[in-house]
């Protein structure tokens, strides 16, 4: 690395702005003041008592397991009803919406999956709206089986990160519209692997808090995908922020060890 200690320093502002502690994973966008005070007390106790530390570690593990459970593979449904129905039921269970070809948008109603879903075995899925869903790298398996997917919206998904974007190349043939706005874990490094999506015509990369330089990133992504319309941060706004962003960009400042 050019300046290994510098890169650790560069990471710190993102940490503080993003998640405050591992527990803030799903509430990445907004830590509240009173919760912070409670957390300080718990931190104090955990530093001094092994039992408190163990209990907190256990609760953390449970949260992680919850996300994993939501993202398990729907193999049984896939074998019986085909990949389209499996993918659709996965999205509906997570709370998103699915649009089959020539049909209306299906949203989850309170009473579980609707009966007509099982009849749509041969109908490909055209569009998926997974905004706010807790999809992660494993759960993306179910989505990537939808080979005729044309529009995918992953707005504000808290667990979608650069690794997940690296998998999207499997949808390169069909995907025309992609929205990643508001995902707290996506950075410009993940956006670099979107160049596989050669049929992409609309890309939304606004409001990505982990991207260090939104204006420059948008220019580079536009150069990378010449046929695509890229919606990103307002360029005038990012120019205004220019002078304040300077210290983070110059990697030449000597960093004390």
């Amino acid at each position: 690395m050019a300046a290994p200690r510098a890169s650790l320093r560069l990471v710190a502002p993102v940490w503080n702005g993003g998640t405050s502690g591992i527990r803030g994973l799903s509430r990445a966008v907004d830590p509240e003041g009173s919760q912070r005070k409670g957390r300080a007390l718990l931190q104090f106790l955990a530093d001094r008592f092994y039992d408190v530390e163990a209990v907190r570690g256990y609760l953390l593990q449970k949260q992680v397991l919850k996300v994993l459970q939501k993202n398990r593979s729907f193999t049984y449904i896939k074998e019986r009803y085909g990949p389209y129905v499996a993918g659709a039921s996965f999205i509906l269970k997570q709370g998103g919406a699915v649009k089959f070809q020539d049909k209306e948008w299906m949203r989850p109603n309170g009473r579980g999956l609707s009966g007509e879903l099982w009849k749509l075995r041969e109908v490909p899925v055209e569009a998926v709206d997974a905004s706010g869903c807790a999809i992660n790298y494993q759960g993306l398996d179910n989505l990537l089986a939808l080979r005729e997917l044309q529009s995918l919206s992953l707005r504000c998904c808290p667990h979608v990160d650069d690794w997940c974007l690296g998998r999207l190349h499997q949808l390169a043939d069909s995907l025309r519209e992609l929205s990643l706005a508001g995902c707290p874990r996506i950075s410009e490094r993940g956006l670099a692997c979107l160049h596989h999506l050669r049929n992409l015509r609309r890309l939304d990369i606004s409001d990505l808090p982990a991207v260090s330089n939104p204006g420059l990133t948008q220019i580079l992504v536009e150069e990378m995908l010449p046929d695509c319309e890229v919606l990103g941060a307002d360029r005038a706004q990012s120019l205004k922020l220019g002078p304040e962003e300077q210290p983070r960009d110059t990697a030449s400042s000597p960093i004390p060890a």
Binding site: A2, L8, W15, G21, L42, V64, D162, R167, R189, L220
Partner: protein
């Protein structure tokens, strides 16, 4: 009177043993000169008796002779000394040994880089009962100024030709992807490895094309996502490449790229400390071992060695601590060969197992950072030319990192980490500018050098126990792939130590015995 109390009351039996410190005298009665003082300037009371307490405390005899004239001065001095002995004063019979490692440790890991810390992590993770194994990591340089880990370019790929290497890399990538589950510490912020999933692009000329095809077949069998590209496809995808001389290219689609090795190191360090591993800042200077002369079933005589103590010398001091241990792990990176020599590996007639050295030596490699305003865009992978030159993007500002492995004749002297800028001008830039015409106009901004722990035998790692020194385990010699294989290698070594054999990934081709048997586990086309 007080000296008498020191000699008899606080002798070895009472306080000395429990304190566990050596101030230059060892248990066997050897006095290593007078070198036990921590620079306090006070010489020991009597150097022929092995005291384990601190110096004599307040001295009585160098106050000079009692003269009538300075009786008041004497009284005040005596009062000061009595005050220092009383509770609350500065003198205490218990010595501060916090700078020394403990006297006993079950496992001593020599080397605190990414491989050593990975072994420590997996040992603590796979132990049968929490806290069952005491692990000590000995690292000579806590600033890691010469460590290969932090000076590395940070790439990870699955494009190898040996299935074992591919499996190691696949597991390591899975580890890095879920690093916040593996290395989670309560109340610490999550790690951001800054992973760039941009992939590796290997270019092959006519001669290398068949080898590349075979390699890709093996990689796909193991589960790596790699695709082959023809020169036309290459030109379409990456128009900035000059495909002249390229017959075939292999491109890693997923799970390949580069990341920040410093972050991984700090994350491992933090987690491993929270699991109870002790760190020691010192250098291993000696192994004390015992030999067993035995006979094999066929009647050959063989000498098995077992290491009992590791002498760890403290920095800038003559002080050392013998650490009694059960197992030693050699994860010293570029200096693993030296550690193996200390353990007596390779001392014997050449051609025998006793005479087989660990063929790992440091090799210097340069990395250059340059700026090129019209260079390849955001989609650029880590491109490796058939000539051996490679480069990748660094950040958003059109900066690029790259280098080239020198041929055997041009190997630079590994004595220091000075950078040779002429090497870039003559050996690296021509190949880069040929492959990517935009690089004809570039400006080198920075350069640094790091060591490969180069395995001169077959350029792949050495993992597992030594056949004769029965309790030394190796995890070294990765020749440039150490960082990307570290998590998986750590797990493999921990499995061998705890279970006796490899359980998840079978690394038998990487055992030490291959050097004696002559079985090379060689990669085809490495950087």
């Amino acid at each position: 009177m007080l000296r008498g109390a020191l000699r008899f009351g606080l002798g070895p039996g009472l306080l000395g043993r429990r304190l566990g410190t050596h101030r230059g005298g060892s248990t066997l009665g050897k006095a290593e000169g007078s070198g036990g003082c921590r620079g306090s300037g006070v010489s020991p009371v009597s150097s022929h008796v092995t005291f384990r307490t601190r110096g004599p405390g307040p001295r009585w005899e160098d106050s000079g002779s009692l003269g009538a004239g300075d009786w008041d001065g004497k009284v005040s001095e005596i009062k000061k000394k009595i005050q220092s002995i009383l509770p609350g004063g500065a003198w205490s019979p218990l010595c501060d040994t916090s700078h020394l490692p403990p006297e006993h440790s079950d496992v001593v890991i020599v080397g605190g880089g990414v491989v050593g810390l990975s072994v420590a992590y997996w040992l603590k993770r796979l132990e049968k009962q929490q806290g069952a194994i005491r692990v000590l990591v000995v690292e000579r340089d806590h600033t890691y100024s010469q460590a290969s880990t932090v000076l590395s370019v940070g790439g990870i790929r699955q494009q190898f030709s040996l299935p074992e290497n591919i499996q190691l890399s696949l597991f390591s990538v899975e580890f890095l992807r879920n690093i916040n589950e593996y290395l989670a510490v309560v109340d610490d912020p999550p790690l951001d490895l800054q992973f760039n999933p941009s992939g590796y692009l290997f270019l092959a000329s006519e001669e290398g094309a068949t080898i590349m095809e075979n390699n890709v077949k093996v990689q796909r069998q193991e589960g790596a996502k790699v695709c082959l590209m023809s020169p036309e496809q290459l030109r379409k995808k990456f128009p900035w490449i000059n495909t002249e001389g390229v017959a075939l290219a292999s491109y890693g689609l997923e799970n390949e790229g580069w990341f920040d090795p410093w972050c991984l190191l700090q994350g491992l360090r933090r987690k491993v400390q929270s699991m109870g591993v002790l760190f020691c800042h010192g250098e291993v200077t000696r192994f004390v071992s015992s030999s067993n002369h035995m006979e094999t079933a066929s009647g050959e005589k063989v000498t098995l060695k077992r290491i009992h103590e590791v002498h760890v010398k403290v920095d800038h001091s003559q002080e050392y601590q013998p650490v009694e241990c059960a197992i030693v792990v050699n994860a010293a990176g570029a200096w693993s060969g030296r550690i193996a020599e200390l353990a007596g590996i390779g001392k014997g007639p050449p051609g025998t197992l006793q005479g087989t050295k660990l063929p790992v030596e440091p090799r210097k490699r340069y990395v250059y950072l340059w700026h090129c305003p019209q260079g390849p865009g955001l989609e650029a992978p880590l491109v490796a030319d058939p000539s051996g030159a490679y480069f990748r993007r660094e950040g958003l500002g059109n900066n690029y990192l790259g280098g080239c492995s020198p041929s055997e004749e041009e190997e630079p002297d590994p004595g220091n980490l000075e950078v040779d800028h002429d090497f870039f001008q003559e050996k690296v830039w021509p190949h880069l500018a040929w492959r990517v015409p935009a690089f004809e106009a570039l400006k080198v901004r920075r350069a640094w050098a790091g060591y490969y722990d180069y395995n001169t035998f077959d350029q792949n790692g050495v993992v597992g126990p030594h056949p004769l020194v029965v309790n030394m385990y190796f995890a070294a010699g990765f020749s440039g792939h150490g960082l990307q294989q570290a998590p998986a290698v750590g797990r493999a070594v921990a499995e061998v130590m705890l279970e006796g054999r490899f359980q998840t990934i079978n690394l038998s081709p990487f055992l030490f015995s291959r050097f004696y048997l002559g079985e090379k586990a060689q990669e085809r086309c490495i950087i």
